[in-house]
Amino acid sequence: MSNKNEIVTAYTLRQCNSCKEQSKQKFSDGDYVFKEISKCSSCDGQIIITKIFGESLTQ
């Protein structure tokens, strides 16, 4: 049975396919894995979403 005090938050992991720089953000509507987001500000590579996952906090 599930823990009643478990709060799961969805995160999106973005990564530049060239310099491999990563950033973790809260999931926003319309995100999906392998979606191309924008150009990387540091190397002009393509930033894509590599993972979407839930992390749980138990209170």
């Binding site: 049975m1 894995v33 839930g54």
Partner: protein, 374 residues
């Protein structure tokens, strides 16, 4: 007359004599009560527990129904009020084919399942003047959740009421034993709704996640309805990568797609990646390798893959990521998504260990690809 020797209290309540009639009555009465009414007493006690769980089940059903109706009304633009039509869908049933058929019932089950899917999709489409594929698949999955919760509630209620009606305690025992498992499944279904509404990947999507990354920067082609494949190369081997078309909430048609690709491209080995139910005591995200077609569902896709592999003498290897029922249908846990890289490495190892250069390998990412493109 001398009454000094007559002790009434001692006569009836004294503890010294075993033949005391009042004390005997106190012991015998409960025994008689339990012999004749024991089962009824147990039925009353058990009924109270079951009633509580039934109320919970009904709540899950109502909440999921309201969630779906709200989602359709607020996020999509139905032609008119969808409540009546959706309520009718929740009661849809499937009559399975006769299982004494000596010719095999798999094609019949396959036809039935596909007909049901196609009819549901058509009905959903008819509710909107404009709706994209992602939303159709999301509504289809949400409908399936509500229908299953409704069915669970109805079956539990039926078994409970039958036992009560017959005043039959043994009849309630199987229900009492099964209820914790039913509740676990019901809770998992209820918790799956947010992920489906938001289009987030679920635990079952680990197979498509692994193969989806291998498909990046390759030319994607349609293999079957809502199923895509692409060709790639690794260490001198030709790879055929197959998965459901993401980011839609679909498992695609891996059975038919495998039949088509095996006939067309003649792979030497097949590798399947899927989520698998973990045993109690195992950790979520454990990775295991094995043999055979790693694919769940009603069994028709597995049958097709096994049949075509047997016909062409192709070995099937499997890599599974262990998880619970709840993990498989709710937002993908970090422990599962963190295994994607590890599984990919194991796939490449498996390819080099079990095939030779210039051979062809079919890699299938099995599972619901919601929130995972390619």
């Amino acid at each position: 007359m001398d009454f000094s020797n007559l002790d009434i209290l001692d006569e009836f309540f004294g503890m010294s004599d075993d033949s005391n009639p009042f004390m005997m009555l106190i012991w015998i009465l409960p025994i008689i009560l339990f012999v004749f009414y024991g089962q009824r007493i147990q039925l009353i006690i058990t009924s109270r527990e079951i009633k509580k769980k039934m109320a919970e089940l009904e709540q899950f059903r109502n909440d999921s129904r309201n969630d779906l109706i709200d989602y359709v009304k607020q996020k999509l633009t139905p032609n008119d009020d969808p409540t009546k039509k959706l309520d009718r869908f929740f009661d849809y049933f499937t009559i399975m084919p006769v299982d004494i058929d000596p010719n095999g019932i798999i094609p019949k089950i396959h036809h039935l399942v596909r007909s049901r899917e196609d009819a549901t999709r058509k009905q959903i489409k008819s509710m909107f003047s404009e709706i994209n594929t992602l939303e159709i698949t999301k509504v289809q999955n949400l409908l399936e959740i509500v229908t299953t919760l409704q069915l669970l509630h109805k079956v539990v209620r039926h078994l409970f009421l039958t036992a009560k009606k017959q005043n039959n305690y043994p009849l309630i025992l199987p229900l009492q034993m099964m209820l914790p498992f039913i509740m676990e499944q019901a809770e998992a279904l209820k918790d799956a709704i947010p992920a489906f509404k938001k289009g987030q990947p679920i635990g079952d999507g680990i197979g498509p996640l692994v193969v989806g990354e291998m498909m990046l920067d390759t030319k994607k082609q349609s293999a079957e309805f809502e199923t895509v494949y692409s060709e790639s190369e690794f260490d001198g081997r030709k790879l055929i990568l197959l998965k459901a078309e993401g980011p839609y909430a679909t498992v695609g048609r891996p059975g038919e797609a495998t039949e088509l690709l095996v006939e067309k491209l003649k792979p030497n080995i097949i590798i399947m990646i899927d989520a698998a139910l973990k045993l109690e005591g195992e950790d979520t995200g454990d990775v295991a390798q094995g043999f055979g077609a790693a694919i769940g569902g009603i069994g028709t896709d597995r049958f097709k893959i096994e049949a075509v592999a047997t016909k062409h003498d192709i070995p099937i290897f499997a890599i599974v990521v262990r998880q619970s029922v709840k993990d498989a249908i709710t937002l993908m846990k970090k422990e599962i998504s963190d295994q994607a890289e590890n599984v990919r490495k194991q796939v490449y190892e498996m390819i080099t260990d079990n095939s030779n250069p210039n051979e062809t390998v079919l890699v299938i990412g099995v599972g619901n690809t919601l929130g995972v493109a390619q």
